[in-house]
């Protein structure tokens, strides 16, 4: 009788709180689990490069890249496939 009471006591005072905690934790973490890993600034980045609307090759081979515009021996001309004077902007966070 005493054993049965203690079993019920454990179930009520430990089992139910643990169940509630598990449900709340699941509700909290479910969205992030569904979305997958998230980028966190300052932490390292392990994902492979992604090039959207790029050439057929996903990542350029540094050994076969064209010379930079303005580099010695490569006069900047139109129609060579190498961008001439460029513009744009830079930022960091």
């Amino acid at each position: 009788m005493i054993t049965l009471l203690s079993g019920h006591t454990v179930l009520v005072f430990v089992g139910i709180p643990v169940l509630v905690i598990a449900v709340v934790a699941l509700l909290v973490f479910a969205p992030s689990i569904a979305k997958g890993p998230r980028y966190r600034p300052g932490l390292s980045w392990w994902a492979p490069p992604v090039w959207i609307n790029g050439p057929a090759v996903t990542k350029p081979d540094p050994a076969h890249l064209p010379e930079l515009p303005g580099a010695p021996g490569t006069p900047a001309t139109a129609g060579t496939g190498v961008a001439r004077t460029t513009g744009g902007a830079s930022a960091s966070w």
């Binding site: 980028y39 994902a47 490069p49 609307n53 961008a83």
Partner: protein, 132 residues
């Protein structure tokens, strides 16, 4: 960021849709690269631009999540439509989102903004001098 893909399929779709829309309204080509640089980010972004088919008409958005660097590179002819000041505004928008960890949102908003800035309204009757 644990090992795995940088974006989910839904996120990729959102970015690709923003790129397509920017291309449609501007007539320029847009390309987005997310990954580490083998060298300094600006020269690397220029190398990426030169890998594309028509670099002069292309706007390349390069994001280095590990180095926390963003480069927007406009080709020689693209920069006539998209000024450095406009690119700077878009960079600021993206920078804000990236700082909060929202890569997808920053790219979508930034590319949309670049496309809008590069948009050139069609000139009505510009090729019809006989009607003037």
């Amino acid at each position: 960021m644990p090992a795995g893909d940088a974006f989910t399929p839904d996120q990729l779709y959102d970015i690709e849709r923003a790129v397509r829309h920017a291309e449609e309204i501007s007539g320029l080509r847009f390309s987005v690269y997310v990954g580490g640089a083998d060298s300094e980010t600006r020269p690397f972004a220029l190398e990426l631009l030169n890998e594309l088919e028509d670099p002069d008409h292309t706007v390349l958005v390069y994001v280095d999540p590990a180095g926390r660097r963003l480069e927007i590179v406009t080709g020689a002819l693209a920069k006539r439509q998209l000024s450095d000041a406009a690119a700077g505004l878009a960079a600021l928008t993206m920078q804000t989102s990236f700082a909060t960890g929202d890569l997808t949102g920053g790219l979508v908003t930034g590319v949309q903004q670049l496309g809008t800035h590069a948009h050139q309204p069609t000139l009505l009757h510009a090729n019809e001098p006989h009607k003037q």
